[in-house]
Amino acid sequence: MSNKEDIRNLLEKYWNCETSQEEEQILFSFFSGEDIPGEWMKYKPLFSWKKRCLQERADKKLFSPFQKPFAIRFYPMIKVAASILLVLTVGVGAYTHYQQEKLMDRIFSESETYSDPEDALRETTKVITKVSSVLGTEKEKIAPEEKTDSVKAPGIMTE
């Protein structure tokens, strides 16, 4: 009897939206049983449906991590990997750019080798001397090598 009285009170509270989760569980359990008074049989489908809904929601919460898209599940790891990749790419890119600039400099003579004109003049003199001596020698067509070698140009670069 007291059980029936309790259920009546709980129902009253339920209609007034005053029941706690535990109290609702009591109602669900009661109405999923067989011993339901005739006057309350009309509430059985309602509480059965409610119970089913709650069960489905609980199942979803339980299994959802395995149904989430790959990207969302591993989002924190992806963020870290992307940051590392970005740093590496920038680093490698900067290094490659530097090496390429250095090579381009070498190929296209963007930078002077000497900063001191005296040093540059010394090298220029060597070059002009070398070129002139070859031109001069061939112009005169002095055949004997002894004559050519006797007027040696100052030391040239490839020793």
């Binding site: 090579l103 070498r106 190929i107 296209f108 003579s109 930078s111 002077e112 080798t113 000497y114 004109p117 005296e118 540059a120 003049l121 090298e123 220029t124 003199t125 070059v127 002009i128 001397t129 070398k130 070129v131 002139s132 001596s133 070859v134 031109l135 001069g136 020698t137 061939e138 112009k139 090598e145 006797s150 007027v151 040696k152 140009a153 040239i156 670069m157 490839t158």
Partner: protein, 168 residues
Amino acid sequence: MNRLLLTFFISIFTSALSAQDIAASFLDKHGKDESLEVITIGKKMLEMMTELTAKDAELQEAIKGLESIRVVSAKDKNCGEKYYKTAYQLLQKNKDFEELLTARKAEEDTLIMIRENRGKVKELVLLAGKKEKFSLICIVGNIDLKTLTKYAGKLKIDGLDKLSSIEE
């Protein structure tokens, strides 16, 4: 019309490619080799030398009009032949260059090639080397071969002066 435009752009492209000097073409292939020494003297430095060469009129005359001088030489004796072959092939392939002279000696072969434009020598390349030696000299600018040859004459006179002073 489209074909004309295409031909126009291709000709600009190829002329731009050929605009780089022989030293640059050579370094395209071997630029990364650490065994090569590259010396570059640009227009600015050449202009600054005008004052320094005031006492040597022949040298000043020889340098006048030059825009750049590049010297590529091998530090590693073992690579001399390889570099010589590459440079030689580059020069032979380049239709803009014509051979001025070839000199063969025991220690090295020397080849001078020039590129002319409207009757003026714009680029002079001296390739010297043998098995263990290599040097590539590339001079760009308004080059007067007569002046350069005259400078050789001056060197000979200086040489003879030194010789006579030793004998005394």
